[in-house]
Symmetry: C2
Subunit: 182 residues, 2 copies
């Protein structure tokens, strides 16, 4: 396990989360230089028929454990309210709240991305199909074994965060270069 303390300068570690009451996906990606490495991924499944509050407690504990294990610098989440009904937005909100709480309690920032931004970052197409996104995640991270769909979505959110951060750095760098040249 590599902690935040002994990590080299310039390395960023992101915990991506795909929240869901039944299955919550997670994945940890570290950027070293220009490359992304997947350190771990998986899902937290709750038992059907148990009370929602108990499910939330299971998800909370599992994500807090993942934060303790991988010590990410940031938590990336999909901002996925588009096209859903009020009832399912409500349910999804409940798991998202618990996810954000884990991040806040670990002192981490939460970065949210729209589904279109994630698809664009991972596949180059903001309207990509779910299966396309999953294949792109496997390719980008050179994953060997099988990846659960929810874990792939979590990894996609994490990739999106790193791509955005890279883009922001590039834009800032270009501006700084222009200022220096003028």
């Amino acid at each position: 396990m590599r902690g935040r303390g002994d990590r080299e300068h310039g390395r960023v570690r992101v915990l991506g989360v795909d929240p869901g009451t039944a299955v919550t996906g997670w994945g940890v990606i570290e950027q070293r230089g220009l490359k992304f490495y997947c350190l771990g991924h998986g899902t937290v499944a709750t038992r059907p028929g148990t009370a929602l509050a108990a499910k939330l407690a299971v998800i909370h504990r599992a994500l807090a454990d993942r934060c303790g294990e991988w010590e990410p610098d940031v938590v990336a989440l999909e901002k996925s309210f588009v096209g859903r009904n009020v009832q399912s937005a409500f349910r999804l909100g409940e798991v998202r709240g618990v996810t954000m709480l884990v991040a806040a309690n670990a002192g981490l920032t939460v970065a949210e991305y729209t589904p279109a931004a994630i698809k664009l970052a991972v596949t180059g197409n903001g309207r990509a199909e779910k299966a396309q996104v999953e294949r792109a995640v496997v390719r980008e991270l050179a994953l060997k074994g099988p990846v659960a769909p929810d874990a792939a979505d979590a990894l996609a959110a994490a990739i999106c965060h790193l791509q955005s951060a890279r883009l922001h750095a590039l834009v800032a760098g270009t501006r700084a270069a222009r200022v220096a040249a003028s």
Copy 2:
């Protein structure tokens, strides 16, 4: 402070919560015999402009502290997704998730009631106005000082839980009496 341990048999203590990202209301009611007593009520306000995750952490800590202080037997919540849009259902869900987590971590059951059920229990009218509900709460609990609207809503949810429990007990009692008589 009266803990769960030293409470007499037949007394039930309910923590009502009215979740909100900006203001979360809470209120503790204890039933002794046929009467309801308000033990405490208040609100948790978060600072505007801070990150949502940080707000959720503030709400989580405050509600966990209230649970520790009052040692309720159950947490009552309004199931209020009716007439709201997807975006606000999402936000509300996030605070609800954190509230349910507090209950689960304290080993408490969460009881949810629709706005109509709460209005009916408190005022006798399922379509009562907000101000009517607030006045009924103040009257029912013989509250002296001012009550914040969100705290009144939290107390209303708690009253609804105790009224429902009483009704269930009555129905069960009637059934038992019928069975005994038959």
